[in-house]
Symmetry: C2
Subunit: 408 residues, 2 copies
């Protein structure tokens, strides 16, 4: 089969409607939507009986191994609206030097080097399908880079806002991919406010996390891929770095859809939402037994991707974590940096800080008895470690000095 | 099928022997080898009749989409010696805004962010299989990073030498992945001399380009993948950034092996070896009608990966280019930087400078009538653009200043 069969073969689509994730209120498909009237994320619903008749795991296995092989479970109607930079399935790489039975799902292999590609390729394709000409969004870096790349490809203008201290590499990547990018004196939710305040007067479509319905549909492919990679038996536990939480919510949605399709059973992984101690609103709400999380003031962590003081989908994250029997866990910057170091040095896998946070949390969970060494555990490394300064490696720097050949 | 079936399923192996690429002299398989007695690269030979009976394109399509699905055409005998960081097939991404019919094979998606992973995963697995405890090699950056990562995973010590002006990100990546790394006052062939002079006294196994026989076997999987992705009809032209040339030589070898297996016909792509004007020894030799290339003095180019003044496989590169009806082409730094800019801004694809060189060369070839717009052309982007400073994007920097929300 040719590599592009997923992108060029017209296939039946099964979206029936959208509904408010809080109230269940119904919304029409194939129209532009932001949040629901209740101010909450919208979820896309499918005719799963129709999907069941059209698609089997065996048929999936015959298709090229990219995200678009799940077309029947995705919202894009027209093949011509698919924008793609090659969203290949990401590998799960065992950490052989860690105690236990633990794989890293290495999302850094996606276009633009992060899992943000999954959500943004879907959101931009749907924006194209629904006639959007300019998108705008806040970002801690990686989402903006993915949005810029796909918007460039789709011929859509992109306006991106990031905190002033976003690493240069991210800002330059966004600009290189043709977007207008602004640094903002504030955090990501401050950036989001600018988008919210300006979008109507400026004609921007707001692509913020969970404020349009399709990023979550892209992110849910992480759950679909995992099931396929584990032979349709989900792992026992998933550690997920949690900022806006789209991926965790998306995977949880994918699990329900797969069960309805008969592809998996009722068993679910325990979902561990991992945050940094310097920005842990979901952990605080989890421990307090709350369904919503209040804003975390003075947020700080070296793991910029999870420096998200407030998440519009907070209750969806907390509901899933609780229903799964999992937990919300916070780790220190020191522990996550050490985890990044260890995985690189011992297992040759260069993770991002947020990925390192999941390894640190796994170690805590194993030590604390939350996880058994026999259980199958998946950690999400959400971006390539190459996007981050390796300042922690300075202990090697004395060996980097130019040497004379005679000296060796 | 589970994701790791390629890594865990024992399969028959078919290596019969090795032979000198210049003289054809025969060498035993399953022993450590460097260059041949004639000082030339060794090539691995297989019982292709045996492979033909054991493996079909249809069977391949059923396996997980990573490099190890070609096990029968690779040298590793024992499943337990496979080191892997998830060498997934790389996508071919169309450049929709370019004139013609042109795809980028995006090798930046491999572990450690470059195509060097293909060669080094194989070389390190074979080093493990043959009992090596320390490897050493020169690098312009990416090969060293891949070697370090796989060596860490295999429990083999790695000693890496790179030119003093190798970008920090590469040096730090190598160190983070547990290798000893030295900067050297010289170019990559100077680094290679250090390895050559010290390896016997220090007990290092030399992993330099083409100085051991297995990196080429890993690199040839680029050719196998391309054939599969194009439905077993090879593209009309391939533009390959040429430093040491292992990939070009490897693909050419793969094409011959696939023809012997009956998987493809006699048609070959025209191979275009792309170099930078500031370091073009292969281009000079091609134009002079020579079979060997003399060292290029005062080599300079922003594309460090092709800043290779002298290649031990020069005649193999030149033979393949000539046999294919292709050509060796040089491009200016200005042209390759512009190509990187354009692909990012218009097509959302951030290439490395060496990948940009192939796009610049393609544009020249199209304008000069070497390639028709109807032909199917593949450019090799050998590494993720994220490894390179985006200094050329400074025109956007005035937009990056912190702004007050009122200003917008």
């Amino acid at each position: 089969m040719r590599h592009d069969a997923n992108l060029t073969t017209d296939r039946p689509t099964f979206v029936t409607h959208l509904e408010c994730s809080m109230t269940g209120e119904r919304y029409e498909a194939d129209q532009l939507h932001g949040l629901s009237r209740a101010g909450r994320p919208l979820l896309v619903r499918y005719d799963l009986e129709g999907v069941k008749a059209a698609l089997t795991p065996e048929a999936l296995a015959q298709r090229p191994a990219d995200l678009w092989r799940y077309r029947e479970l995705l919202p894009v109607r027209q093949t011509t609206n698919i924008v793609s930079l090659g969203e290949t399935a990401t590998p799960i790489v065992p950490l052989e030097k860690e105690t236990g039975n633990v794989w890293v799902k290495d999302e850094g292999r996606l276009p633009t080097g992060s899992f943000k590609a999954r959500g943004l390729v879907m959101a931009v394709a749907m924006a194209k399908e629904l006639g959007v000409t300019t998108i705008a969004m806040p970002t801690n870096g990686n989402a903006g880079a993915a949005a810029a790349a796909y918007a460039a490809r789709a011929g859509i203008e992109a306006v991106i806002f990031c905190p002033a201290d976003t690493p240069d590499i991210n800002v330059r990547e966004i600009a290189a991919q043709g977007a207008r990018v602004y640094r903002v004196n504030g955090l990501i939710d401050d950036c989001g406010k600018i988008v919210g305040q300006s979008k109507d007067t400026r004609g921007w479509f707001d692509l913020s996390t969970l404020k349009e319905p399709y990023r979550i549909e892209g992110k849910k492919t992480m759950g679909l891929e995992l099931a396929e990679q584990f032979g349709w038996e989900l792992p026992d536990a998933i550690f997920y770095p949690t900022g806006g939480g789209t991926g965790l919510i998306g995977m949880w949605k994918a699990f329900d859809e797969m069960e309805a399709l008969g592809w998996i059973g009722a068993k679910r992984p325990r979902m561990y939402a991992v945050q940094a101690e310097g920005c842990a609103p979901i952990v605080r709400a989890f421990e307090a037994g709350e369904r919503h999380a209040t804003r975390w003031e003075d947020a700080h962590t070296v793991a910029a991707g999870i420096r998200v003081p407030q998440a519009v989908g907070d209750f969806l994250i907390l509901d899933a974590v609780r229903a799964s029997g999992g937990k919300a866990l916070a780790v220190s910057d020191a522990a996550l940096v050490k985890a990044v170091d260890d995985a690189a040095r011992k297992d040759g896998l260069l993770m991002c800080p947020e990925g390192g946070a999941t390894l640190a949390a796994y170690r805590d969970a194993l030590a604390g008895g939350l996880v058994d060494a026999e259980e199958r555990v998946v950690l999400f490394n959400c971006a390539t470690g190459l996007k981050y300064p390796l300042s922690d490696q300075s202990k090697y720097l004395d060996r980097h000095q130019p040497i004379d050949w005679g000296e060796l």
